[in-house]
């Protein structure tokens, strides 16, 4: 955002000549528009029977362009540092321009008889006002659109950083407990360690590097989920009764938001572990169907007696926000709780 501001500030004049004419492209633009303006003024001047109409039209065109630049300069000084420009001001300027142009034509048809000096004033004054007002109007409209553009960019940047915040990361508790399990295995069953270390590196690599993308291949996310489940199996041991039915996705063009499904899986393990019952039941299923990814999950749990039943925790709240940001009207999430089981069903559109 600061960078944007710097760019914006650098457009402000460092000396008045630069400030007056702005960028060089404006001079080229004004050379281009001066031709039709010249023709229009020449036609106007000829209609009121002025001698040397070509010379007068040329001077008037020059004055007009200078007036536009002067108006632009005034607006630039006035609007510097102003965040918003009132719409009424813009409308007022448009009305002023239209009124003055109308007056010029009206006055051309009905000049005051025999009063040359006043007639001249009644021509030149509206003419100068039109050119100044046009310059101001152009500059202000440009400022308004620039401000709007900047706001849009800022809010886009905000929602991007919000997304990153909402994104679930590998929890340090999971990591340290897993390291402890690997440590334990390395003492008693060291032959199991090498493949597990490779899996842990994959897990870390994915959660550190790959999740920076907004969408990742589903195949990668599923590999992460499978690795995660393998480590949870080791952590829980015999208590776990797990049934997994994850489709073997081979297409690499199916994409999904990273670390989204894993939040549900983490929750399932966390809540189903939190019982004293002999066994933990978890069912995980994932299918692709047409343009949809279908995910469902069921886990045993003890209904908390003290907490409110719908307290899904921060993770779930973040998932909801992410779904709303990334899959607006492209997802269906259904959470159900019974006395002994918690079920999640999520349908997502493939990206």
């Amino acid at each position: 955002m600061n960078k944007k501001n710097d760019q914006y500030m650098s457009q402000l004049p460092d000396n008045w000549i630069n400030g007056y004419f702005g960028r060089g492209v404006y001079l080229i633009l004004s050379a281009l528009v001066s031709a039709p303006i010249y023709l229009a003024i020449e036609a106007y001047v000829r209609s009121i029977d002025v001698h040397k109409d070509e010379a007068v039209a040329a001077v008037a065109t020059g004055c007009f362009i200078a007036g536009v630049f002067a108006g632009r300069y005034i607006a630039q000084i006035w609007s510097a540092g102003k965040r918003s420009i009132p719409n009424t001001l813009l409308i007022g300027l448009i009305i002023l321009i239209v009124a003055n142009i109308s007056w010029l034509f009206f006055h051309a048809d009905f000049p005051l008889e025999g009063r040359a000096a006043i007639n001249l004033l009644l021509f030149w004054l509206p003419f100068v006002i039109v050119s100044l007002a046009l310059g101001i109007l152009i500059k202000l409209i440009r400022t308004v659109t620039q401000n709007q553009l900047q706001e849009a960019q800022t809010s886009a940047a905000n929602s991007q950083s919000e997304l990153q915040l909402l994104q679930s990361q590998l929890s340090p508790h999971f990591l340290f407990n897993t390291l402890n399990n690997l440590y334990g295995l390395s003492i008693s069953q060291h032959e199991k360690i090498p493949p597990l270390l490779l899996k842990l590196s994959d897990l870390l690599r994915y959660s550190v590097y790959d999740v920076k993308e907004t969408f990742v291949p589903l195949i990668d996310e599923l590999a992460y989920i499978n690795n995660y489940i393998d480590f949870e199996k080791i952590r829980i041991g015999d208590r776990l009764e797990l049934s997994i039915d994850i489709e073997n996705v081979v297409r690499t063009d199916i994409k999904i938001a990273p670390m989204l499904l894993i939040v549900f899986i983490e929750n399932a393990f966390k809540h189903s572990k939190n019982t004293t019952s002999e066994k933990i039941f978890i069912e995980i299923a994932l299918k692709t169907w047409g343009k949809m990814i279908l995910f469902s999950l069921k886990n045993s749990y003890n209904k908390p007696k003290l907490e409110p039943a719908n307290s899904g925790g921060l993770g779930l709240e973040n998932v909801n926000k992410r779904l709303a940001l990334l899959y607006p009207v492209e997802h269906v999430l259904d959470l159900q709780t019974t006395d002994d089981f918690y079920t999640v069903s999520l349908q997502l559109k493939m990206k």
Binding site: L179, I236, T275
Partner: protein, 169 residues
């Protein structure tokens, strides 16, 4: 050599195995049982005397800290956890030591030494064999404090000792 009864409470089987293996290296430690949650541990502690308790914090239903609060007579508690955040709570409950998983055998032995030291203090505390006019030296805060058993009542908890002393001994 005095033998100490130990109880291991952790919901992860491998974590329990590690502590059990470590205890096996020290002949004076006798592992009574290992349990996967605090409620099982509570049941065991009602039937047996436990000297040293290895306690995980994040456990199903009743966590380690809450469990410790339910105990009337506390054994020497050594927390074993991956959670650094709870250290302050743990020491508030006068935990003996706090081991961050994964921990080495060396670090484990340091924790056991602390527990044994405290336990032997408790033995002096509770035994009636100390004669009148005997002196007891207690290491406290790096210094030795001399107690004349004939004058001072021996407090159960170390934390109350400084308040009972007249001035620096």
């Amino acid at each position: 050599m005095t033998s100490y009864n130990c109880l291991i409470v952790d919901d992860e089987p491998i974590a329990r195995d590690i502590v059990q293996t470590y205890c096996g290296h020290l002949p004076n430690l006798h592992v009574i049982a290992t349990c996967g949650n605090a409620l099982e541990a509570k049941a065991i502690m009602q039937t047996q005397r436990i000297d040293i308790l290895f306690l995980d914090i994040n456990m199903p239903v009743l966590d380690g800290i809450a469990f410790l609060k339910t105990l009337k007579t506390q054994p020497q508690v050594i927390f074993t956890t991956a959670y650094k955040e709870h250290a302050v709570d743990a020491f508030d409950l006068s935990a003996c030591d706090y081991l961050l998983k994964p921990f080495s055998l060396d670090r484990f032995i340091v924790a056991i030494d602390k527990a044994v030291e405290k336990l032997s203090l408790d033995v002096i505390n509770t035994s009636s064999t100390v004669k009148k006019d005997d002196y007891i030296f207690i290491r406290f805060d790096g210094k030795y404090i001399k107690f004349n058993t004939g004058i001072y009542f021996m407090p159960k908890r170390m934390a109350t000792i400084p308040r009972l002393l007249p001035d620096k001994a």
